[in-house]
Symmetry: C4
């Protein structure tokens, strides 16, 4: 089994996740500015999650591109990642509708953490297939982004209960860190897109 | 007609099914732990169905991979399978929201049964096209998984009314059985993914 | 512009239409047989529409397969067809929820009629591109199915107000007529899927 | 990274946007003509947005077709465009449900404006990659459509508060201007679809 179908299926799921998130932003029944501004925080959380899914889509592509053959472990590691990402619309809606209250914010951070760990597991599964001389392993190098993100999410989980604004800063910060496409992989991989 | 477009269309439908199921988990309006824990069983049923659709996606891929040409019978057998799978979001939501009550649990088992039979019909349709020396037929061998699952679902339908926990154990058990990718087909098929 | 991307986009839209239709079947809050049986007609209308979208997907594939190059007219004729098909979830839900009442049934027939005409326009657009010696034109021959369906839908529109059962019989009948894949095109087209 | 996966992902997102917009047209609970006609303006706004998304899909295809390699800037410019397009279902529903009231109409124009600017940014990003002798730059020529549209949307934003009908005429007018496929690119690009 090649990685093409895995990629196509993941693309489909990610495209749906990124699009149905907008459905949590319920159309108000009033044509007033008040009705619209009541949605401001729902909108903000939507923007945040849109960027996160965009980052995952981008990095996921680079990851699968480095993966020539797919076995059962990779396949389920990938579905495991998609599972946590599929919860984004739910936690995004909950956090936005409740104006970034502590509990929803902590859950949002927790789902980000779970997705980051799932991504790491998928990466390990692909490296394991490639063996000692794994091109992906040397490409990601020390992987400081991949190691720092879960730690930052963990801080955000705790921060949500004491200083919600800190959790929010962390969300924005990690997004910024990853917004730069993963040039490490791009650079060291052979060009055969 | 090659099997590529059938695969792409099925992938699209499966990606949508697996993703819209999460919409049944309605975002609560309260930022409290009570509001969240009220969704625990809806979440659990979502996890279960996510795994089932993942299994179907995986096995469906192996099945179509064994199928080089598509005729009307295969095409409609495939749509028939997708039809039953499209009911997963409904039965998942009904079972979860009603805390695994007998009737919704029985219906869930019934839809699993219908999907399993539809899968078997699709398998037969592909084998019929390949004739006596069907590579797929020898690949699936005695197909004990394919034969045991419908029987177990049938038991679950009945068990739902007398001992709901038994039905739930069966759901988990069958998922576990299938979680292992179908190595039989993988092993005996020529490698031309 | 080749027909591949047109096909992929149409597949995506059709896959979404066929899957979100099920969302009109709202999950009942009660775990009772009454709650479930209240949905019987919604379910029936879902089955009907699922078959219709399946038929359109199937015939649409054969149609585009006969089309090598895409121009603006074909592109918009295709979007025009997708537009009417995108209304299926709405009319399906309306007809089902209102127990096949006259007006929703008539609207359902009207949308079927519009989709049939849009399909015919798309067919004409493709034939026009191929010129006098159009392979598609000779393939569809006298196209009695394509000509009879709109007439039958028109009868159903009128029948809905006087004898709803007649409209329903027509829906089932036309579905049966088309359920047989379009062998005419399959037979006369070169095999290069 | 080739443009194929970018195209496939964008196609998926556009297919979902164009289809879930119809979900804003809530199925009425009454089988009466009053219930249906209450949706007339929601339907009209749906038709308008369907045409706009169709235009974007069409032009987007021509744009990406002119783009052979994808870098980080193009990738994020594309996601940025998809972001604004993903808000179409929301603004379409808000404008339709509130009978083209001033504020929702102005917001609709604003989102059209944002999408137009995002499209222009994507175009610039692709041209920048191609360098001085950019085939795309010479293909779009003076790009009067691309320059006139944002200005017209800007007029519509203001007009919405003083003369809603003028904003509506502008929406229809710009759609008409773009309905003609972008022949400039089609003509000057090498035929290798």
């Amino acid at each position: 089994m090649g990685s093409n179908r895995l990629e196509a299926f993941s693309d489909g799921v990610l495209a749906i996740i990124i699009t149905i998130m907008v459905l949590e932003m319920k159309v108000p029944h009033e044509p007033s500015l008040e009705a619209l501004s009541a949605l401001a925080l729902v909108f903000l959380s939507y923007v945040l999650s849109f960027i996160y899914v965009g980052i995952y889509w981008n990095n996921h592509h680079h990851l699968l591109h480095a993966c020539k053959t797919v076995n059962g472990r990779i396949l389920w590691a990938n579905l495991h990642l998609l599972f946590w990402l599929s919860l984004f619309p739910f936690v995004t809606g909950w956090m936005g509708e409740n104006h970034f209250a502590p509990l929803p914010t902590a859950l949002y951070a927790l789902i980000l953490l779970a997705a980051a760990l799932a991504y790491w597991l998928l990466q390990q599964a692909i490296i394991a297939t490639q063996g000692e001389a794994s091109a992906l392993r040397s490409a990601i190098g020390r992987d400081w982004k991949g190691k720092a993100s879960p730690l930052l999410y963990l801080v955000a989980v705790a921060a949500a209960f004491y200083a919600v604004w800190l959790a929010q800063i962390i969300f924005a910060l990690v997004a910024l860190i990853w917004l730069v496409p993963d040039r490490r992989i791009e650079r060291s991989m052979p060009q055969d897109a």
